[in-house]
Amino acid sequence: MAGVSCLLMWHDGRSSPLSGGGAGPSLTQNFISRRGSRRPHNPKTKDRFRLRQRGLHGGMRLFVSEGAPGSLPVLAAAGRARGRAELLISTVGPEECVVPFLTRPKVPVLQLDSGNYLFSTSAICRYLFLLSGWEQDDLTNQWLEWEATELQPALSAALYYLVVQGKKGDDVLGPVRRALTHIDHSLSRQNCPFLAGETESLADIVLWGALYPLLQDPAYFPEELSALHSWFQTLSTQEPCQQAVETVLKQQGVLALRPYLQKQPQPSAPEGKTVSNEPELPSRAFSSFCLTRLPVAGERNVLITSALPYVNNVPHLGNIIGCVLSADVFARYSRLRQWNTLYLCGTDEYGTATETKAMDEGLTPQEICDKYHVIHADIYRWFNISFDIFGRTTTPQQTKITQDIFQRLLARGFVLQDSVEQLRCERCARFLADRFVEGVCPFCGYEEARGDQCDKCGKLINAIELKKPLCKVCRSSPVVKSSQHLFLDLPKLEKRVEEWLERTLPGSDWTPNARFIIRSWLRDGLKPRCITRDLKWGTPVPLEGFESKVFYVWFDATIGYLSITANYTDQWEKWWKNPEQVELYQFMAKDNVPFHGIVFPCSALGAEDNYTLVSHLIATEYLNYEDGKFSKSRGVGVFGDMAQDTGIPADIWRFYLLYIRPEGQDSAFSWTDMLLKNNSELLNNLGNFINRIRDALRSILTISRHGNQYIQVNEPWKQIKGSEADRQRAGTVTGVAVNIAALLSVMLQPYMPTVSATIQTQLQLPPPACNILVTDFLCTLPAGHQIGTVSPLFQKLENDQIESLRQRFGGGQVKPSPKPAVVETVTAAGPQQIQVLMEEVTKQGNIVRELKAQKADKNLVAAEVAKLLDLKKQLALAEGKPLEAPKGKKKK
């Protein structure tokens, strides 16, 4: 790279001259060897900035941190300014305090010859330019000031939402839109290619560097900003800028900023703009996002996990209720009780299935994981799952922690080596992973048993024990070949795990099915379990002779919880090596119990490193779909991504799934039952209660004029017509009722967060009352509290709506088509006419509701109600149904 004469010297600040061991460097080594395409220091980049060894004195020293956005403009400016800049670059941790006089960590930082520090990104860039003799004019200064005061606050909020919180679309773009438009307008107004005129200035480099991480993704670059586009393009194609991008973002795009940004406190949203579309209250948002949660001595510290979903399967309703939703309800409850709570989950990404999927789609395994991780995250966000962390298992931390546990087990003699007879498909030329073999279960004779477990009897199987094995990919019969593998010596650890269970189980919240499964495993006696596989996509085995093998997912998948936490905070051990202070709740479906209740505890106990072990293991049974199983391949059942297309709100799904949660035995999702539960329990019971309070309050306010309009016999109404004492009593009754509604809204929050927030808005609950659930009932609302506008909480689900969803998502396989019977009775009108009438009924219903909510004139309301009833009659006639008796005023 002849053009660059600036000397940038790389020096890893973490490694000492004697390094070779130590967590940091060896981790990096492993990381490099495992994933060639994604090494942290790209040697190509290294070569471009010429390397030269140098002492620590003399020359400037630049401190950067992996993923710190400020590195981009600084490196671009350094490349641009060439000249005399000699930089020694040290990489420091994101929380390291480099500048002695600053309390809070700050990077990038430039330490000058004189010992002075420049800790402002713009000032560093300015200095590098000044060294080349380039002064800054007023216009450049103006842009730099604007960048620091206006652009940065907006941009750091946007990047934080995008990278750390995984938000999307307008949530990200919202905060910066105004700033982007400002730049675009300035560029087009002055009609110059650069910000401060005809030639490039420091302002261009600094603003470009700040904007690049966001704007390199076309999704966050509004197309209409054409002047900004061409300016951005001009700069992005310059060599110094390209080199800076390669060094800082390492071809990972904006995600490269994650290691740094996730250590930063959440930036406050730029003034006057709210960026969250969730109805969450400010204090709650603060407590769940702003701080790195760590256990606190003397408090109840609750660590919650839900089983890590496998990355390439889109989760179905059964997966959702089985782990994430159940755990979410508990996490929300735990926070309401003011317990110090950390709820984590993530995608399980290693294994053959990922490799195969990658082959299918022509992508690398990493690309497959990146793609599906986002799909998962979107689904859970839609269901309002309140993870504190939603991570993934393909991280360097996973390698580090897994290998550490393995080394400790190895050193303590809990690892055996043996050759294994394995099924190899000669046609596919590879050893077959368990899930790619199918055959007859040796225990119960089930014909479609998988290579690792039988779906029918639930027993774990060694693939070679399968009768009539078949390769699932090509359907040919595999042959048995031998290969060297490592085993976890479970028999040697059996006693320890039994002792631990004896201490843990009594009085705990382990579900009966989990206890049963564990007991039967121990009764049968533990056997050594193979923990390695002949694969590439996995955590490498750090042992001679095993370089081409990886750990089997069920040895390292449960370690995923630890590594996901480690990616969240350096102090992850405070959660995971702290059994005295931390209570661990793990949620899963029953098939996961052996790995969480036996295998991982064995690894952890054998590693002898004071790991936090599961205190409460909560397992569900299976959820079926209508009368069969969920099946992606047969298109039967509702999968996470489809639920949002049904038009049924997330809270209704949450409510119904929790209602039918398979606890004692398998249960089934049924459309008809969902309609019934929604209409009877939610609409008529809960919805009606909240709305009655509205009526009660209104009656108090207008009692003198409208008192006798109310015909319904109810305590406040009756009382209010009576004496002064009775009126007071009515006030008290209503006040208590409102407080009950307030309590209800809080209690509802874990189950239906959006509905809860709606009620709380309608009641105008002050934030503190929204977030705390106390043991005893208290009136949280003071006398004289004004409630807000009340509107219906739930919508009725209609029979034909549900029927059409049932058709759409399958599940009609048992009773083929109930529809014709209905169609036959429709003689009076065609389906189109019915559709039109239904729409009119809905429209008229809304008009009536609105008028009632506005307390419109009585006669006007009556007239509209009459219209509605008439329309309903016409509809009933058109559908050939018997006329319904008017429902009266019992329900709203």
């Binding site: 600053l102 309390t103 000044l130 005061t149």
Partner: protein, 146 residues
Amino acid sequence: QTPVLQTNNGPSLTGLTTIAAHLVKQANKEYLLGSTAEEKAIVQQWLEYRVTRVDGHPSKEDIRTLLKDLNSYLEDKVYLTGYNFTLADILLYYGLHRFIVDLTVQEKEKYLNVSRWFCHIQHYPGIRQHLSSVVFIKNRLYTNSH
């Protein structure tokens, strides 16, 4: 809230530090912006510090951190750049005035270097303008407090 300077020739300028730097140059007092590359960068760094950290609505905690950091920075310095009085001293003095007037005697002693620097700047001819003079006690009362 952000000042705008409308000049007779050329477009307007926006932003406190931009305008101040412009006026300094107009007045031929460019030494106030620093004379070496290093000094110039340091001046601009503290000007940025003024508009991003001192202005606006910093919390009590932010103010404490800010004073603590500044106190530690000024330990071996007469002015923000070291030995030369610059625009950074002037604008930081104006920006901090509203916090310094509220400090207790004990706090002023705790942030001793800030107090020394602040007192020095407020006595610079022509600097204090309409701002109140902040009183600093010469003898120390809380010698064991830090």
